[in-house]
């Protein structure tokens, strides 16, 4: 019987991925985007749940918010990822779309240990 085991895979040294930076890594034939948002690390599958676009190659940006029509403000700069194919917006921290009902991209846990950044990913064995 297959057993899912957690596996830590190193991405890079922590100081190679500064705030606002991101990179795409291949782990077990899976493309994953790793993001540093103000010192916090997040990892998302590089596969948009909408149409399969390379989500993590999209723009890291903010979004517009309005309490009422026309009163638009720009917020959350650096926290939002916009798919390069159809512009769906995702919250990098949760992997969820900003639109309701939400859709989610798969997220992976990140771990910082001894100055290195790892992604926790499952592997069948």
């Amino acid at each position: 019987m297959d057993e899912i085991v957690k596996e830590l895979v190193e991405v890079c040294a922590v100081d190679e991925l500064g705030p606002g930076q991101s990179r795409i890594v291949d782990i077990n034939n899976r493309s994953i985007g790793v993001f540093n948002v103000s010192g916090n690390f997040f990892a998302l599958a590089n596969l948009c749940p909408h149409a399969g676009g390379p989500l993590c190659r999209g723009q890291v940006t903010g979004t517009s918010v309005a309490d009422k029509p026309y009163a638009v403000s720009w917020q959350r700069t650096g926290e939002i990822l916009r798919c390069p194919w159809h512009s769906w917006e995702f919250d990098i921290a949760t992997g969820k779309t900003l639109t309701d009902p939400t859709r989610s991209v798969r997220t992976f846990k990140t771990v910082v240990k001894d100055g290195h950044l790892y992604i926790e990913t499952g592997a069948s064995r």
């Binding site: 909408h50 979004t63 309005a66 009422k68 029509p69 638009v72 159809h86 512009s87 639109t99 309701d100």
Partner: protein, 344 residues
């Protein structure tokens, strides 16, 4: 119980309205109610001979009452007066609206028909200040249940210039009927690609203009702003809604940052805020497909029965929607309207 959500009462003579106008409007000429562009080739009204002619019946409360309540078994009818006329003068247009409203209240409402006639007031939404004042003037009248504006417009109705009018309507709990009527008061190109030649084209295509207003109202956040704002499209459109609203939903996700005030998928606003009169209710030719079509289109939940008496497209209440199941027929002929308008 049967509710007829649209009957058009007529002035026997258009100049009768002058009694309800002060000067300078009383002595100024204005056009009659007949359609200016694209007259109906077979005549504007249902055309029985003599005293039974539709336009004769619809100009007399007692006769109309016998026709609609007596012969056709309707229990409540919403009267929608028309203000047709090609009138660039906004102030004259509002003067005609005010006179029409006074005429309706004086001649048709609160009479011996046992409260079975309820009424619609007309405003010209291009003139928000006067339109709002007119809404306030009628808001406490017990028999006024809605406000009517033309489908024709210089700008789509989500535009912020109209907001005070919709705000007044929502504040007073009066739904807004958007229905083709010359009272715009200028008639524009009937399609974005210009003038068509024939009435067939007008009849088929003109109602599609509802889609511009609907998407505009959603996109500009009018429903987010005004929770009590309700709209009825009087020229039908429930049968065209499904593919349109699928498209809006689809396009909304990628463009959401342009309309961050939209708190939900565009389609969600429709059920809460929008209904259609039954004048268009098209569907598949094969009867076997109707059950699926009704489920997909949600037409039977969104449609309010309207006979449109005495106009050419009259749909007799006693025989309307007989081919539908009892549940759908009951919804269309009664509960959809009673719930949306809050009619007892």
């Amino acid at each position: 119980m049967t509710i007829d959500a649209c009957v058009h009462p007529l002035c026997a003579h258009k100049d009768d309205l002058r009694r309800y106008m002060g000067e300078p409007w009383r002595s100024r000429s204005f056009p009659g109610p007949e359609r200016y562009f694209y007259p109906v080739p077979t005549g504007e009204y249902v055309s029985e001979e003599g005293e039974a002619a539709g336009n004769t019946v619809a100009a007399d409360p007692a006769k109309l009452s016998r026709e609609i309540f007596g012969q056709e078994g309707v229990d409540k009818a919403i009267l929608v007066p028309l203000t047709r006329g090609v009138l660039p003068d906004l102030d004259q247009s509002m003067a005609i609206c005010r006179a029409t409203n006074d005429w309706l209240a004086d001649q048709w409402l609160g009479r011996s028909e046992g409260g079975r006639f309820v009424g619609t007031i007309r405003v010209d939404p291009r003139e928000p200040e006067q339109a709002v004042a007119e809404i306030k003037r009628w808001a406490s009248h017990p028999d006024i249940v809605q406000i009517a504006v033309p489908l024709q417009a210089q700008r789509p109705y989500g535009n912020r210039d109209y907001l005070p009018v919709w705000q007044a309507a929502a504040e007073h709990g009066l739904p807004v009927l958007i229905q083709s009527d010359g009272g715009s008061s200028i008639d524009y190109w009937p399609s974005p690609v210009g003038y068509y030649k024939l009435f067939l084209e007008y009849a088929t295509l003109y109602p599609i203009n509802f889609s511009y207003h609907l998407v505009s109202l959603i996109a500009e956040g009018v429903f987010d702003r005004l929770k009590n704002f309700k709209v009825i499209f009087g020229d039908g459109g429930a049968d065209l809604l499904a593919p349109l609203i699928w498209r809006v939903d689809k396009d909304w996700r990628p463009t959401r940052s342009e309309t961050p005030w939209n708190s939900q998928m565009p389609s969600h606003y429709v059920r809460e805020h929008v209904r259609f009169l039954s004048s268009r209710f098209e569907g598949p030719q094969d009867d076997h497909d109707w059950k699926t079509w009704l489920a997909v289109s949600e037409m039977s939940e969104l449609t309010l029965f309207a006979s449109k008496f005495p106009m050419w497209q009259y749909d007799a209440p006693s025989s309307a929607f007989k081919s539908l199941g009892d549940k759908e027929r009951h919804a269309i002929l009664e509960t959809n309207a009673s719930e949306f308008y809050g009619l007892a």
